[in-house]
Symmetry: C2
Subunit: 284 residues, 2 copies
C-alpha cells in the first residue's frame, strides 16, 4: 500500500493477514507532531472498511492497545479497522504537568478542548479525535465514515463524551472501565480545573453523566467493569452512569465482572465482545 499523503509511516507490521501501521503527522489542531496507529484488516486491500476508534487511558500512547489488547484477531475476521490516537499532545513545546504527575498533561489530555492557558494552545484533543484525525484517515487510508468509538478509563470517558457531544458522528459506542462522572472524581476534578477553569457549567459539557441527561441521540451503550478494579469506587463510579442512563432512558448494558482489575488482562478478556457490539452496527 502506498504511503498516505502527509503521513510519515514509522512502523508497519503484518498481523493476522492485515497491517499494523504507525504514522506521524503534523496536527493543525494540536499544533504539534502526533503519532497514531491503525490496524487495517485484510479486507482493506479490496475495499474501504469501517473503523473502531479506541481511546486509551492515562499514561498510554498509541502502542498499548495494539500490543496488549489482542483485538486484531477478530478485527481481521470481521473486516474492521482500528484507529488508536495518542492520549495527549506531546513534544518539547507542549506543557505537561507542573509537578511531573502522570494524571495530567502528557498522556492525560482527557479528550476535551482546554480553555485555560497554558493548556489551551495545544490541548484540543476532542477536536483532534473527533474531526481532524478521522478526516485525515478517511482521505488517505481505505477507511470510510462508518465510525464506532470505545475506550478504557480516561479513554472510556473520552469515548462517551465524543459520541454524546456529536450525534450522528458515531454509529456505535462502548466503554471499558470508564471514568463515568469525571466532575465528581479526583482525576477528573484535577484535569477539569486546569483545562477548563472553575466554571462548573464548563465541566458539565465534558461529563458523560451530565451529557446523557440531555442527549438527543441514544446509541446503545455497552460498558464492562471489573469489580476488583482498584479505581472503581473513587474514580470510575459506574453506578453514576447507571443512574444517569436510567433517569434519561438511555439504553445501557453494564456488566460487572467479579475478580477483574483495571489492566489489559481485563481489556483482553472482553475486547472481542466490544468488537462484536460495534461490528453489529458498523458492518450491518
Amino acid at each position: 500500500m502506498p504511503l498516505a499523503v502527509g503521513f510519515e509511516e514509522i512502523a508497519a507490521n503484518r498481523c493476522f493477514a492485515g497491517w499494523h501501521r504507525r504514522y506521524r503527522h503534523r496536527s493543525a489542531t494540536l499544533r504539534c507532531d502526533m503519532v497514531f496507529a491503525v490496524y487495517l484488516p485484510p479486507q482493506a486491500d479490496q475495499r474501504r472498511v469501517p473503523a473502531l476508534y479506541w481511546l486509551s487511558g492515562l499514561t498510554c500512547s498509541d502502542e498499548n492497545f495494539m500490543q496488549k489488547a489482542g483485538a486484531m484477531r477478530l478485527a481481521a475476521t470481521l473486516g474492521l479497522a482500528i484507529v488508536v490516537p495518542d492520549t495527549s499532545p506531546r513534544g518539547a513545546g507542549v506543557p505537561g504537568d507542573p509537578d511531573g504527575a502522570w494524571d495530567f498533561g502528557h498522556g492525560a489530555g482527557f479528550y476535551l478542548n482546554a480553555t485555560q492557558e497554558p493548556w489551551a494552545a495545544h490541548y484540543q484533543m476532542h477536536d483532534y479525535v473527533v474531526h481532524e484525525l478521522p478526516a485525515l484517515i478517511e482521505e488517505a487510508l481505505p477507511i470510510d465514515a462508518r465510525r464506532g468509538i470505545c475506550g478504557h478509563s480516561m479513554g472510556g470517558h473520552g469515548a462517551l463524551v465524543c459520541a454524546l457531544r456529536n450525534p450522528g458522528r458515531y454509529l456505535s459506542l462502548s466503554a471499558m472501565a470508564p471514568i463515568s462522572h469525571p466532575l465528581a472524581s479526583p482525576w477528573g476534578e484535577k484535569a477539569f480545573l486546569r483545562y477548563l477553569g472553575e466554571d462548573l457549567a464548563a465541566w458539565r459539557a465534558w461529563d458523560a453523566c451530565e451529557l446523557i441527561a440531555v442527549a438527543r441521540e441514544r446509541l446503545p451503550l455497552l460498558v464492562d467493569q471489573g469489580e476488583a478494579d482498584p479505581f472503581l469506587a473513587a474514580q470510575l463510579r459506574p453506578e453514576t452512569l447507571r443512574q444517569a442512563c436510567a433517569a434519561a432512558g438511555h439504553p445501557l448494558t453494564l456488566r460487572l465482572h467479579p475478580g477483574y482489575d483495571h489492566s489489559y488482562y481485563f481489556i483482553a478478556t472482553f475486547i472481542e465482545d466490544h468488537l462484536r457490539h460495534h461490528a453489529a452496527v458498523l458492518l450491518a
Copy 2:
C-alpha cells in the same frame, strides 16, 4: 487459590476466567531470585492441567509473552496452562555483558548450562527451565507433568534444545522464528564462546541442528517464520533446520510467511496454531 509454598506471589490478574500470576522464588540452580509467570486456565480450578512452557527471546522477561502474544483466550478454552520463565538469571550479583550489550548476559541466557566463569556460577538456565522450575510448579500449582515447550528466537533455540536433549520430558515441541543453528550465527557464536569456551564439541551439544542429527526421539516439530524478519538470513537460518530434519528424517512442518517480521505481531498471528499443535498431544 492459596499461595504456593515457597513462592511469593507478586501479581495476580483475572484473565479469560482464569488467572495470570507472577511469582518470585529463590532458585537453587541459578543462585539468585527469579520471577516467572503462569497462566492458569479456568479448568485448573477443578483439576490439574498440562502446561506449555514458553521461552522468550533476547531482552525479554516473563512479561512480554503474557502481555503481547494473545495466547490466553485459546488457552482458557483448551484448558492449557502457560508457564513463562525469565530469559536469564538476574540481580546485583549476576554478571551481565561486560560491554552492556543486549545480546548476552541479563536477558540473554540462551537456555544452556555455562561452563566458563564468571558465567557458570549463575547461568544454568537449561537445568532451571527443564528441571527446577517444573518440579516447583508441579509441586505447588495445579499443573501436572504433561509438558509442551515452545519459544521465540533465542527461546525457539531454547525450546528445541531443551526437548532434544531430554527425550521423554516433553510431549510436544514447536518454535517461532528460532535461532536454528546458533553455532553458525553471530548471536550464538558470541554467547557460546563466553558461556562454553572454545571447544566446538561443547557448542554442538547446544545446537538444534546438531542435536537433530543424533536424536533418539522424533517429536513432530512445527516452526513458523516470517519472511520479512530482519534476522532471518544471518541469525535464524531456518534452511539449516530444514536440512537437518531432512537428513535425519525428523518430522518438520516449517511454514514461511510472506511479509511477517520478528515482532509480537507475528507471534500473535500464529500462536493459536501452536497452542493447538501442543493441545492435540497434551490434551489427547
